[in-house]
């Protein structure tokens, strides 16, 4: 699961039988989380192998590349370098991009109904400096000291409910 543009969260469950099967024939097996990144040509290449504690059941991978697509495999690796897959590979997950897209292709559709631009709907040229200024005006970075708000931490947050205390203690 993506958490933010640089972090993926993985969790796993496996039956004891699948662990035993994956361990068979391996000398001193240890668990590794292999991460694969989709390259520009479309194929996946391994970009990271991280030792994990199987018992934890989950792991975060940090410092990944925003906007890239990943998949992972949980493996048991032996001392000789051989490894066996433990359970099925994960699905593909794409991290959100960080910052404005480099793709500029203005296409307009008539709303509601159109989900693709009708022919010739590209719109007239639009000056880049205006696009940049409107993007700047749309950006929270102009308000660096302000909490963004939201029920997840701002002024509008959910009221802190009673702790259920019945004594005289205050906050």
């Amino acid at each position: 699961m993506p958490r933010d543009p640089r972090t993926l969260f993985f969790y796993w469950d496996h039956a004891p039988g699948s662990f035993a099967a994956a361990r068979a024939g391996l000398d001193g097996a240890r668990a590794e989380l292999w991460l694969f990144e989709r390259g520009d040509a479309g194929g996946f290449e391994r970009c990271r192998a991280t030792a994990v504690a199987l018992e934890s059941g989950s792991h975060y991978l940090h410092d990944l590349r925003p906007g890239r697509t990943y998949r992972a495999e949980l493996r048991l690796a032996g001392r000789s370098g051989e490894s066996h897959l433990l359970g099925p590979p994960s699905g593909e997950v794409t991290l959100p991009p960080l910052g404005p897209s480099s793709e500029v292709a203005d296409a307009f559709a008539r709303f509601p109904g159109d989900t693709r631009p009708p022919p010739g709907a590209a719109g007239s040229p639009f000056p880049e400096e205006l696009r940049s200024e409107l993007a700047r005006l749309s950006d929270w970075s102009r308000f660096p000291d302000e909490v963004r708000g939201s029920s997840a931490g701002g002024m509008g947050g959910r009221p802190a409910p009673s702790s259920g205390t019945t004594g005289e203690e205050g906050r």
Binding site: T115, R131, R148, G149
Partner: protein
């Protein structure tokens, strides 16, 4: 027809509380969330909006009411308990009038609170006849308010994206619930916590929902890069995404410089439920212990006694300033959008108004009154804007939210990540049930419907939020476990085709929302 150059201001309130109903015992502190919201936000807001309506002010405001909130506001038991809570509030206010009778600084304020408490209680019982959903609906039917819906149990959808059946069910159940309570199709959708992921727009459009909201970076980081920033919606999968304007949001919500921090306003945190000696408030606080009682004597920023008249005056000044700032902002934008119509979108939690920001309803009333007669801008809902500006740029917002650093951090960290495997597994098993049981007998159907309710209730974003915030942690864990365990038992009984009618009736009675639910919302698509 496109009205080039028109300038729009879209104020949007969103109201949500998790479904909390404990029929077995009155006085659970968690039921106080609804009672506080009713007393200190929804009633003052409705009073302000109805005053405008009574005065013939033609304002436009959009509002999302989450399905669990609507369900609770329509539950006899909870409504009766809200009425009782309002009566208790009157009693507390009466006691404060007596307690402060020799205190010339606090006594006038105590009298103010007593009058306010009586006014709110009368509003609830007499003007609104305990039906706040009906009151909001009347404002919608009068063409003043546009009510959108939200996910069935306010699930944080980006973290359910791997289970599209779960997201579809969150949307479909919300839509049918909305039809039941508002007698029409919902025009738009509040993505809980503005949680978006690529593909959710298509699911909303499938259900006829025309718009939703994202935080500013949801538009700023969209692909391809939008031409107008957050000042025009983008079309994502057939639904329009409206981006939150940081400038207006900072004015309303900013933690340091936002209006609610003004020293003329009431300090939310100085409540007698915490400030007074235990013996002085014990009667009001039992059962449940220390909590806010809604009577607060001090202004922001120090020890000065709060002055409601000064607060109200400042709210009107802030409304005038906000309107002037939006006019300046829109004029600036209009000159840079090559004939396109700018819209400034300011979404807020409804509970900001009244509950957190005591003077907020006065601010909103004054703002709407001023904006409705301002020739330089148009108050508009998203539907109004789209009707007049149907040419929308195609672009897809990224995975994003309006909290937790802008992504999923609030709902996925070391405090709450353990829940997701269980939620995903339950959603997958529910999808399998819904797919496998196409023609159930009546008892099995009831069990399938209740299983769907339990999965949805477990998915509420509130539980993960509470785990991370460290508030009501035990309660959040209990709720997640209860719903998942109830689902697991129903699942096994359905699979075995041996449903226990008595147990089913007990669970139906405990979690009795969405009577119209269709479990087939979870069915897998080919």
């Amino acid at each position: 027809m496109t009205k080039e150059g028109a300038r729009y201001l879209c104020l949007h309130l969103t109201a949500h509380l998790p479904f909390v109903r404990h029929a077995e015992r009155a006085g659970r502190p968690e039921e106080g969330w609804l009672q506080e919201a009713v007393a200190f936000s929804f009633l003052p807001l409705l009073r302000a909006l109805d005053r405008l309506a009574d005065d013939g002010v033609r304002f436009r405001l959009s509002l999302a009411l989450s399905p669990p909130l609507v369900a609770m506001l329509r539950q006899d038991l909870l409504v009766r308990r809200c009425a009782r809570a309002l009566e208790r509030h009157c009693e507390v206010a009466d006691r404060e009038v007596r307690r402060t009778r020799r205190d010339p600084a606090l006594h006038p304020l105590a009298v103010h609170y007593r009058d306010e408490a009586r006014s709110l209680s009368a509003l609830f019982s007499e003007r609104y006849r305990r039906d706040l959903v009906g009151a909001f609906r009347r404002l919608q039917d009068a063409g003043l308010v546009e009510i959108a819906t939200s996910a069935a149990t306010h699930a944080f959808l980006p973290l359910l994206a791997a289970q599209p059946e779960a997201v579809r069910a969150q949307v479909a159940v919300a839509v049918s619930h909305y039809r039941r309570h508002f007698g029409r199709e919902p025009p738009g959708f509040w993505l809980p916590e503005c949680g978006h992921y690529p593909g959710v727009g298509e699911l909303l459009a499938e259900s006829g929902l025309r718009y939703f909201f994202v935080d500013a970076h949801g538009v700023g980081d969209a692909t391809p890069r939008p031409r107008y920033g957050v000042f025009a919606p983008i079309s994502a999968g057939g639904a329009a995404a409206f981006g939150r304007d940081p400038e207006s949001s900072a004015a309303l919500w900013g933690s340091d410089r936002g209006y609610p921090r003004d020293p003329a306003y009431r300090d939310f945190y100085r409540d007698i439920g915490w400030d007074l000696e235990w013996r002085e408030v014990e009667g009001a606080l039992r059962p449940g212990g220390r909590r806010n009682l809604g009577i607060k004597y001090f202004a922001n920023g120090g020890g000065s006694v709060y002055d409601p008249r000064r607060g109200a005056k400042r709210a009107e000044e802030h409304a005038a300033r906000f309107l002037a700032d939006r006019n300046r902002q829109l004029a600036h934008l209009s000159a840079r959008m090559a004939g396109a119509s700018p819209v400034v979108v300011a979404p807020c939690d409804a509970e900001l108004f009244g509950h957190w920001w005591y003077e907020g309803p006065r601010f909103l009333e004054s703002l709407l009154r001023g904006a409705a007669s301002d020739p330089a801008l148009r108050l508009a809902t998203p539907s109004d804007y789209l009707a007049e500006n149907p040419e929308v740029q195609l672009a897809t917002p990224p995975f994003c939210s309006w909290g937790g650093g802008g992504y999923a951090g609030a709902w996925l960290d070391g405090s709450n990540d353990w829940i997701w495997r269980h939620l995903h597994q339950a959603a997958g098993r529910m999808a399998a049930l819904a797919t496998d049981f196409a023609e159930p007998d009546p008892l099995l159907r009831r069990a399938l419907e209740q299983a769907a309710r339990e999965v949805l209730l477990a998915q509420s974003s509130d539980w993960a939020f509470m785990l991370r915030a460290g508030t009501s942690v035990d309660y959040a864990i209990r709720r997640i476990r209860e719903h998942l365990l109830r689902f697991a038992r129903l699942h096994d009984q359905i699979r075995a085709q041996r449903v226990d009618p008595a147990e089913l009736a007990r669970v139906e009675s405990a979690d009795d929302l969405f009577p119209e639910i269709d479990y087939r919302a979870f069915r897998r698509r080919p």
